[in-house]
Symmetry: C2
Subunit: 209 residues, 2 copies
């Protein structure tokens, strides 16, 4: 199909498609003449994915580019594939001084022991977690972390559902794209469901106060 | 304290503090002379909150401004307070055609029935949820939603912990700020814990494959 049809099929404006191409988010079409490129179903699919990552996932352009590079790289084991997806997603970074870091690591070690988690030392995810925990402390709301165990338990249940779902996908391509979509859109889904559940719980508990 | 001390206490550079003031994120200090303002502990606290919302919560400047306006407005009941916080936080918006919307509403109604949730019709949160669900369908990964019930159950457990924690805070100010911090930083916490749990689950399940 030509650019105009690609735009109709994907629901993305031509100017936006050209912008994504300049940013490296969409592979070029096949040249059918020096000024004319042809696009296929994979371009439609990729455009929809880019849209979802930007608009629902809230990733920056550079983040989408990294995630797509992760999707397009050939992988071996399913565990490696999922690891690459996680590494390609933007990570939180936050500063923490020595005392705060020690406090956060204490919480994390207790949580990991309770859940039977054995993350490798120095894992980037654990660094992100240190940053988030210290942020609660910096703003004086570390009381939220009284519920850390309940958060971790829920995260474990959700992760089990995630991995169940991804494992059912057949090909490596499907697993990689599924993991990206499940992680990025899944964050948005979970955050929205949490707000719905908070509103319901608050209504039930305080509705008449 | 003066600006230089405010900067030291909060760990935020003077130029950044002035930028936040121009953007309306920090109330002015009390003028002690025409060119000299004095700041108090509440400015330090507010600066730390702004930092956390921007850097860990990932809110845009305009989002932080709205959230702070929600914090500073006087409220009556705890349920109203929590509602205002939710409304002030940036909401997802995504387009959905009639068929997709009907499909999403079907999933949402079944989920609400299962959980005993009764959100008011046309609630903005339900609109956000429609957008997220349709995004999964648009990218061809609606299989993730097979786990919607498990996601909702986890969201319910987490919301119960959130509301328990908030309810223990004494004053309205503390409840409002606590709800903002718990919601925004809580999203980051949950997303990070989910990735840690995914990595652990993947390692246990596929580690040797």
């Amino acid at each position: 199909m030509r650019m105009a049809e690609l735009s109709r099929e994907s629901g993305v404006a031509i100017a936006t498609i050209k912008y994504y191409q300049r940013e490296g988010l969409l592979p070029p079409g096949e040249l059918s003449s020096p000024n004319q490129a042809r696009y296929g179903a994979e371009h439609v699919r990729r455009l929809k994915l880019v849209r979802a990552l930007l608009e629902i996932g809230g990733l920056p352009i550079a983040g989408v580019r990294e995630v797509l590079a992760g999707i397009d790289e050939p992988r071996t084991s399913t565990h490696d594939v999922l690891g690459v997806v996680q590494h390609s997603l933007p990570a939180l970074r936050a500063e923490a001084d020595v005392a705060d870091r020690a406090w956060a690591m204490g919480l994390i070690e207790a949580m990991c022991a309770e859940r039977g988690w054995e993350p490798p030392p120095g894992a980037p995810l654990i660094e992100s977690l240190v940053g988030v925990l210290c942020a609660f402390r910096t703003v004086g709301h570390e009381w939220v972390l009284d519920a850390l165990g309940r958060y971790a338990e829920s995260a474990d249940r959700i992760a089990a559902a995630d991995i169940d779902g991804v494992a059912r996908l057949g090909t490596t391509e499907a697993i990689v794209e599924g993991a990206v979509v499940g992680t990025v859109l899944g964050d948005a889904l979970l955050a929205t469901l949490r707000r719905v559940a908070q509103a319901e719980t608050s209504r039930q508990r305080f509705g008449n106060q």
